[in-house]
Subunit: 663 residues, 2 copies
């Protein structure tokens, strides 16, 4: 039995702050618990005593004879600590603090919140909130929240940092084909965070899909552990609120300016196996599809339709979203020919024509389902004059095939009953073909993407700015030789040692974007030119070999204290930030991940030999990315790194300009 069971499946609940005033939350929660159908023991607590809604009111927690499983506190914030102490003394092991007035308000509130969390931690109490809407468990008929109604029962569980979104979801569940099991309002997350609740839900047999609305995710080792271990067992879909306000902090490097904290979190979650919804509508869409299906073998979709227009729209959507229109086998096509009218199209999309009835659908679906070249079926129906709407819905509802079958009945009122038939059979039916295709994309993502969030060996060494070359060499990062010099004599000596043509740049750490500040001179061919360049460069200077590159590549790193280290690869040069042709991963990066990164970018396409150019040995480049990842992870004090450019000459790759920013 989980430690959280006292919170989630309580047999008895004390409500501290029960009120007889219907406008007060202390009344509403008591009412919701009763109306919701809670079958256990309720203990309303109010110093006034008496009776509310037919329930005896206790003047204090102490007065209750047994030890309730759960206490819910709804009194004003300043009185919460005192109440929580009584809860602890009583030995209650689960607490929901609805009350506001904590870290969301001011410094004083934040201090109160820490006190509350410490108190609960010391007494081994599971604390949800403070400043939350509460908790609902539809399986056990517990509405310990001030959301008016219970949701429709189902297998989706929800975590939300917005109470209003919980209210909307509950309302949607009445009409949309989504039912809920557990709903948590996270509030300020003083003690219980996403990590513990997700772990519970992954192990909860009543939950098969987890969705969440999150505004600030608390990334911790335990969250990473939970996601890595379980995220592929149950679809986990998060909508991030406030993406647009996650700006990049004042950028100190190229990498800094292309990596926002949202991008870091997004990359982390994707690697952790989480599916990100772009908006509320998509969150519901994914909740719906995963309530029906959780697995598809690939991305080749067969379409069966009774009309051309909507199937053309579906093909456009497939192409836009990156799924494939299945190529039906010759056998399938000849089977289809046998059962369909001569004018029907037996190629994908299979158009069984406007006068098709349910037997036409049945035949076509059965045949394409068996084709080894298809992974999923999209059934489209438009209500034409002779369309058998509910009969076709029955066919889909009863169909037991090998592949997921998702439908779109394109229209409004006349189709409502048919959609219900399909949904009752736990299959998904959407109003628009594009919705069905988007839902399929979610299914393909969940089924095919792997968790690739590795464990990081803790950084141990401190990076020494004077030892760049040595450090690059240690991590097999091929770099052009550089010599730092202070005086003109040293500079000329270094130049002669390296050999012309040379490049001269500043070693002054205050000059970040070198090209902009004219702090780099290229193509120096003579001692005279070197002298001239020396005069105008901020001291100390760095002398290096001029490498003639064919391609300028970007490789950068940024460490995010919360989430980890993010690495960026793509098109380099001084316009790296403008072209933003970059792929991202959280370290540690494996060779496989590095190869993927390369192929996600246009630079990768170029280096692969696009436009008749020479193809590079990309495994060499992948190795450099892997080494960059190790390099960054090795040093405690590195904050950002730019290799820009990493130059590809005729054959090889060289770090020409490395910039490292320390904490």
């Amino acid at each position: 039995m989980s430690k959280l069971d006292a919170l989630i499946k309580p047999q008895s609940i004390a409500l501290i702050g029960a009120s007889e005033n219907p406008d007060k939350i202390g009344f509403q929660i008591l009412n919701n618990l009763i109306e919701g159908g809670f079958g256990g023991q309720l203990y309303p607590v109010n110093p006034k005593g008496g009776e509310i809604l037919g329930q005896k009111v206790y003047t204090s927690v102490k007065e209750i004879a047994e030890v309730p499983d759960l206490a819910v506190i709804v009194i004003p914030g300043t009185f919460v600590i005192a109440a929580a102490k009584e809860v602890a003394e009583k030995g209650i092991k689960a607490l929901i603090v609805i009350s506001a007035g904590f870290a969301e308000i001011d410094e004083k509130g934040a201090a109160l919140q820490i006190e509350l969390a410490d108190l609960c931690r010391e007494n081994d109490i599971s604390l949800l909130g403070p400043n939350c809407l509460g908790f609902l468990n539809a399986n056990d008929k517990i509405n310990a929240s001030f959301a008016k109604n219970m949701p429709k029962l189902g297998k989706v569980s929800l975590l939300s940092q917005s109470g209003a979104i919980i209210s909307s979801m509950i309302d949607w569940s009445k009409s949309a084909p989504i039912g809920f099991s557990k709903i948590f309002s996270l509030g300020n997350k003083a003690l219980l965070t996403e990590a513990e609740l997700l772990e519970y839900l992954y192990n909860d047999p009543e939950t098969t899909v987890i969705i969440g609305y999150i505004e600030n995710l608390i990334v911790s080792d335990s969250l990473t552990e939970v996601l890595t271990k379980y995220s592929k067992t149950k679809p986990t879909i998060l909508l991030f609120g406030g993406k647009s306000s996650f700006g990049a902090v004042a950028a100190r490097s190229h990498t800094g300016s292309v990596v926002s904290s949202y991008l870091t979190i997004k990359t982390y979650l994707e690697q952790a196996g989480v599916i990100l919804a772009n908006n509320l509508e998509e969150l519901l869409l994914f909740a719906q599809i995963f309530s029906s299906y959780q697995k598809i073998e690939g991305d080749r979709i067969a379409i069966v339709t009774n009309a051309g227009g909507p199937s053309i729209a579906a093909v456009d959507a497939l192409s836009e979203i990156g799924l494939k229109l299945a190529v039906l086998s010759d056998e399938t096509q000849s089977e289809l020919k046998k059962v369909l009218k001569p004018e029907a199209s037996v190629k994908n999309p299979v158009d069984i024509l406007g006068d098709a009835d349910e037997t036409g659908y049945q035949a076509a679906i059965s045949i394409v389902d068996k084709d080894p070249n298809t992974d999923g079926i999209l059934v489209l129906l438009t209500p034409q004059s002779s369309t058998k709407i509910s009969e076709t819905a029955e066919v889909i509802a009863k169909f037991e095939g090998q592949k997921p079958i998702i439908s779109s009945f394109v229209g409004g009122e006349i189709l409502i009953g048919a959609k219900k038939i399909i949904e009752t059979a736990e299959k998904s039916c959407f109003s628009f073909p594009e919705e069905a295709i988007d839902a399929m994309r979610g299914l393909v993502d969940f089924s095919t993407r792997k968790v690739c969030l590795g464990e990081n060996a803790p950084a141990t060494e401190l990076y020494d700015t004077d030892k760049l070359d040595e450090s690059l060499e240690k991590f097999n990062l091929p770099s052009v030789q550089y010599i730092t010099a202070e005086t003109l004599e040293e500079t000329i000596a270094a130049g002669n040692k390296i050999g012309f043509p040379l490049v001269l740049k500043t070693a002054n750490p205050n000059i970040v974007h070198k090209t902009e500040s004219s702090a780099v001179t290229l193509n120096i061919n003579t001692e005279a030119a070197l002298t001239e360049a020396y005069e105008k460069t901020p001291k100390p200077v760095i002398v290096g070999k001029m490498v003639k590159g064919k391609h300028e590549i970007f490789l950068g790193v940024k460490k995010d204290a919360g989430v980890g280290t993010i690495i960026a690869f793509g098109t380099g040069g001084i316009y790296a930030e403008i072209y933003k042709d970059l792929a991202y991963r959280i370290t540690p990066v494996t060779t496989e991940m590095a190869v993927e990164m390369i192929h996600e970018t246009k630079m990768g396409e170029i280096l692969s030999g696009a436009r008749g150019q020479k193809a590079y040995e990309l495994d060499k480049l992948a190795e450099i990315i892997v080494n960059m990842s190790k390099f960054a992870d090795n040093y405690k004090n590195i904050s950002e790194i730019d290799f820009n450019p990493l130059i590809a000459d005729a054959e090889n790759f060289y770090v020409v300009d490395a910039r490292i920013i320390l904490d």
Copy 2:
């Protein structure tokens, strides 16, 4: 009175091919006309005579005493010409051919279709179809189609190349807040095309919004004229079906490979003032918003909400879609402070808190509506425990402000009644904040974008491949001097005339992508090097000045026989197709359009002085784009042009490599 009135507002209709078999379209259309409530005279025609559905059946059109306004033909394709001849002889001026069997089938059908069109043209008959679903006019209760039901009456008119989409739209109108006026099934468009029907609808007082589903648009001078003249008077929204199958034909140039025929059509329609919907859902969304509003002064949106989560989602959507979150004036904020609770947020989004009632909404909306810094208002409501849902809907319904007010009531069942209240007042209410924002984007696009499809002077001259330099000079296109040479002596003489460093390339027209075929040698500094380069270059050769460019720009043109000439500007070089950083316009391009094109691209951002680089004189560049447009439009026989690269050196722009492909 329009020539099309006989088709669209007939007083009497002959149905040729009326049938007593309910499975036949000839029965269904008669039934639909009757059930739809057509008040004029019906003349079912069938050689068998008798009576169908209580109507006297005429054995032939000749037998009818009067001349009906409209004839509808539903007999098999091969008999249509004979029937159409009778229609012509009778003097009927409007004809709908439902029957299939024409150009959609085979060559023979195509010939039949031409015969039919010619017959109608000669007899001044307006012909809709063949191969269509028919026509509906909800204002006059005419259902001359085999779509089962009449749509809800409204002010949206629809053109569709898919009959099934018409059926779906009719069904949607029963539940969605969209009503229709006229619905045309276009079929094979043998005579009546989009141009004539759009012209009618633009002048139809019963239509205020025009939507369309189009698979192949017939672009003609008259379509361009109609759109240019009227498209800003009524919102015109088109969904293009089959975008993904509009591949580029075998590319003969860079421009050829980056311009698909869909891209050309899309660019044309956008410049013509048409709004393109991305999918069916968006087509309905835009129909809905434009049924409520047709004008917004700008893109600064104020949000009034009773909850944080959904308003955060709305702000994310605003940012993603490119609209602005209005910055409320100090005065507005202090007015809001007076009427709202102290905890409310008076900055945008204005959060009037979870317990807000309708008076809170009323007050907040009235105040932000008056703020000169806002152009439109988005009202968000989530159903929380004390939310006054229908009362708030009444407030919105009755609100008479200065700005468009669009709402999103976030949830399902509990909100249905409230949405109806708002919709009845001809205002829009959506289920998701993101839908409301997307709808607002459509409104902003329609209100702010100008028609910029100019009239093209017809091309007159023939381009002579030998006169490149002369032609470039004539159109003020600054180019590097080139001399064509056949022998080594000529080559060296040319080189000495131009002056080293030189570039040598082939003039052989069969070598298209020069870099790939090693047919270009750069940086030739000596006669010896020139000789060496000459030896390996396919003859004849071209000798030119080596220009050291800072930036490689792409400027290309492609002529599309149907639509016109499209011009592309952006990042050049051999990877132009990979980076696809390009802006497009249909010629003629004005200076203003050229400046817009520059600023739409990343190359434009770079040339504007990004990353601390020098800013170029962009009006010089805009002039080159305008001249390129004139150049392309001047010559009849030019098919494609690549200027790649157009080089920007320290100060100026030069055409370094021009490739012209003739028809």
